[in-house]
Amino acid sequence: MSAPSGQFKTQARQLSADLRHRSIIQTALGKYEAVRDKTRDAFQDWQAARQAAAQIKWDAVNHLDQYLLQFVSNLETRGTKVHWASTGDQAKEIILRIIADKKAKCIVKSKAMTSEEVHLNEALAHAGFEVVESDLGEFIVQLRREAPYHIVFPAMHLTRGEISDVFARELGSAPTDNPEELTMIARRVLRHKYIEADIGFTGANFAVAETGMISITENEGNARLTAALPPTMVTLLGIEKILPRFEDLALFLPMLATMGTGQPLTCYNSFYSGPRQPGESDGPTEYHVILLDNRRTVLLADPEQRDALHCIRCGACLNVCPIFKNVGGHTYGTTYSGPIGSVLTPHLRGLQDWKHLSYASSLCGACTQTCPVKIDLHHHLLQNRRNASRQKPSFGERLAYRFFAFVVNRPAVYRLAKQLGRCLQPLHTLVKGGPLDPARAWTRTRELPRIAPKTFKEYWRERQPRV
């Protein structure tokens, strides 16, 4: 058993029994579901919109080289410096060089899952720079020295009391249980950071090839401030973020908002196509875009699961997943959690270490059904299971099946096994659920079915009229 697998099992066992945690998550997701359904129903044809979105992303991902080149050449024409990073380490190295070059001290950051993926904050803090997360949820989890709980709602697992505590401890603010006051504390603290910061760092939701723009979706305005005030702006994005045409955004922005938060459109959807242009009076004078591969091309090389690169990170599959709802976001131990995380992580971080996530699914298909870009999520989990056992078959499992085949192929042995089972089952209660129980994995939380006193054959024979 791999270390991540052990960690997952332990934490899942703990959290699924934690009723307080479950009620926090159910309440938050209950609110989300109510607005999402209402917003989705306002679409004239949601299913056609999903199909169109899937086709657009298919086009983008299956012509990725061409669209990336178009995107980059448009950006470069307008004075943006574009960098390519094969690995997370290279991306961090590039960012550290920009920081050194600019002699920067303070970096203000808006939400970027790619930066979580490459562990940017740790690297920058280690190198002695001040990094401030400006998204409220990210700011809270950063103060708690935690990873984001959810890709869209990073602090969804916390109550206002816990947030007030961490603010009091880290910022010295007076305790309050009013969400508005808590938000204003963060606003005051972060406000002057935007003005002081040397570098503004962002992620991106989409990259438009046709116009060479990155698109950032947000509600708070922190990304807009991050992109407006610091003299240097840096954006780190995965190579799969591409959309071919500018007007594709007219479809993707409302779909992302609908599935992400249940809003018809989020508060700010902003497109950036370069540093300050001639005739413009503000905005960064220098703009760097870093394109990150980090094993996305490994996933691209698997045509069966290539559509996982269509993901727009709306988090909708997490929100409907019965596993996510019970074990929570941190249990996964991954940057991307929930069904999409369980599909992606084995490709991004190694199949054998992360194959256990493929089993963290009831295969109910709720994720596939909700996905706005129609990623075939639950089938990909099955394919990962198949690939993992094909790559490294389990000795115990093979032995068990061979034994099973031996028994069922021989009627006499099968009859004997039945008799034995029937006699021995009452003795099972002595060890049931304990360390000596051979069926412990099952019986710890469930009952074993009782072997019937008679087989069907015996029953049938008895019912025959005697002649």
């Binding site: 190295e93 409220l136 708070e220 401030l225 409302p254």
Partner: protein, 239 residues
């Protein structure tokens, strides 16, 4: 990690990544989605019209339909919206906002409507279409801007760094006042993108944004709070 060009990082990576992509794409992926293909032609509105329109939430056709929709969206988003009959009415509305909120300093940029309003206000002005200090703009009570369009479908205001005085004016001050003309009211998002593609190429402004209501967050227990980092108030005045 291999030693790389000191100047600009990992020069060879571009070709390596593109190479891996091309290699990966040699095998074809199955057809997208798992339903019948959708034709990206608009059946109802003909080839000139965006196909996306037929799937998105319905938005009105006539001015009064669009206006009603914009109004109801603005109310839902907690933005203030007023359709004013004349420039005098606009000036009166601005004066009453100024008194109500005790403005002492405004941020703005030059434009037909903004110039008119700023002249009338007779307050110190931080102009963001000229070089300015962010700390100076931060002390303004309000940012007054024009816009490219209003979008009925979503209640959004479309701004760019060219139409709305740069990147910071519409996000840094605590109150954002948008001055719009009635002919700027568009039906839906596809129309907004058509407008951008008609007005700007080959050189787009470096910043474009659809602003949909005042800044907000739900990060604490999914409870809505206005004014997370951006403006707490958004007022849209249309003449």
């Amino acid at each position: 990690m291999q030693p790389a060009n000191q100047h600009s990082g990992f020069e060879g990576e571009k070709e390596k990544i593109l190479g891996r992509i091309r290699e990966a794409l040699r095998t074809e992926a199955p057809h997208p989605g798992h339903g019948p293909a959708v034709d990206r032609q608009d059946e109802k509105h003909g080839p000139q019209s965006s196909p996306i329109r037929q799937w998105l939430p319905f938005a009105g056709e006539t001015f009064s339909e669009k206006l009603e929709l914009f109004k109801s969206n603005a109310t839902m988003l907690r933005a203030q919206f007023a359709l004013l009959e004349s420039k005098d009415e606009l000036l009166a509305r601005i004066q009453s906002l100024r008194e109500e909120e005790r403005w002492t300093k405004v941020g703005s940029h030059s434009g037909q409507l903004t110039d008119l309003v700023c002249r009338e206000l007779k307050l110190p002005i931080c102009r963001t279409d000229q070089p300015y200090q962010a700390a100076d703009l931060e002390t303004c009570n309000v940012g007054i801007t024009e816009c490219d369009a209003l979008i009925a479908q979503t209640g959004s205001v479309l701004v760019t760094s060219r139409s709305a005085g740069g990147r910071a004016l519409s996000i840094l001050p605590p109150h954002h006042v948008v001055l719009a003309r009635r002919d700027q009211l568009l039906r839906d998002l596809p129309e907004g993108f058509e407008l951008l593609k008609r007005s700007y190429p080959p050189s787009y402004p470096s910043f474009i944004s659809f602003i949909t209501g005042p800044s907000r967050t739900g990060d604490i227990e999914r409870i809505l709070v206005l004014g997370a980092h951006g403006p707490k108030k958004l007022t849209i005045l249309c003449v």
